[in-house]
Symmetry: C2
Subunit: 122 residues, 2 copies
DNA sequence: ATTATTGTACTAATCACTTAATACACTAAT
DNA sequence: ATTAGTGTATTAAGTGATTAGTACAATAAT
């Protein structure tokens, strides 16, 4: 993992987002053990507590669970992971549509814009 | 204007965004005079400097200009306003596609999701 | 039993950013 | 000339959250 952080948002937030994406996109398999808090911390060059905080949120989301002395693991519930993936996608889509609406683009127009951008780089 | 602020972002940012939207969506016409800094400040219940800061950014974007003793005005360049509207829309669209891609949705799938959401509220 | 490795809790300090207070500058109108 | 209404600059203080330091707890392996 590259672990490069922007300055415009807390590190723990960025860790949280990147870890979520890693799990949801399948980079960590269901049931797989995650690196230890201290290990991740060294790897990312941050304080263990910062990692801890990010991981707590993943736990709150039900994407990981921890066994006090063995370590942290990705949930074995593949359905939960897929559900999370869908939820994030729907949220993003909703936010996008809302933003476009405020700009005076109705849904047709928003879709048209996306169609028109198909060939381009992001 | 309702001027209600969230707690998760600076006030000046939110002012900036809302004012931008107001201009771009045509709530303020090209050439129209904006309320004075102090007036907006009272209206929104914030410090004049906070308003000043938001307005400075609008100026940087070329959406407003100020005449030192007369007040601030929306640019008369309607093309500039439309351009800004388009830019914001394209940026949002690009961000959306990028986010969806990280989630494993290619463009087809992203569009399909939006189609599927057409009937819903945001 | 001891050690090493894990997650967790608590406290404190740093640190940057936002916001506020205040004073200044300029112009038009009276 | 004076006043009132603009935008602007500068400085200071608050404030809140992030991050770090350090110590604790629990279990598995040796």
């Amino acid at each position: 993992m590259d672990w490069t952080f922007r300055a415009d948002a807390p590190i723990y937030t960025q860790l949280y987002e990147q870890l979520t994406l890693s799990i949801v996109a399948g980079a960590y398999a269901p049931g797989e053990r995650l690196p230890a808090v201290r290990e991740l911390a060294v790897d990312a060059g941050v304080n263990p507590n910062t990692v801890q905080r990010a991981l707590s949120e993943l736990e709150r989301d039900g994407l990981v669970f921890s066994q006090r002395t063995a370590g942290r693991f990705v949930t074995e519930d593949a359905g939960r992971i897929e559900q999370e993936r869908r939820e994030i996608a729907r949220t993003r889509a909703g936010e996008f549509l809302a933003a476009m609406e405020r700009l005076g683009y109705d849904r047709e127009a928003a879709l048209a814009l996306l169609e028109e951008m198909k060939g381009e780089e992001t």
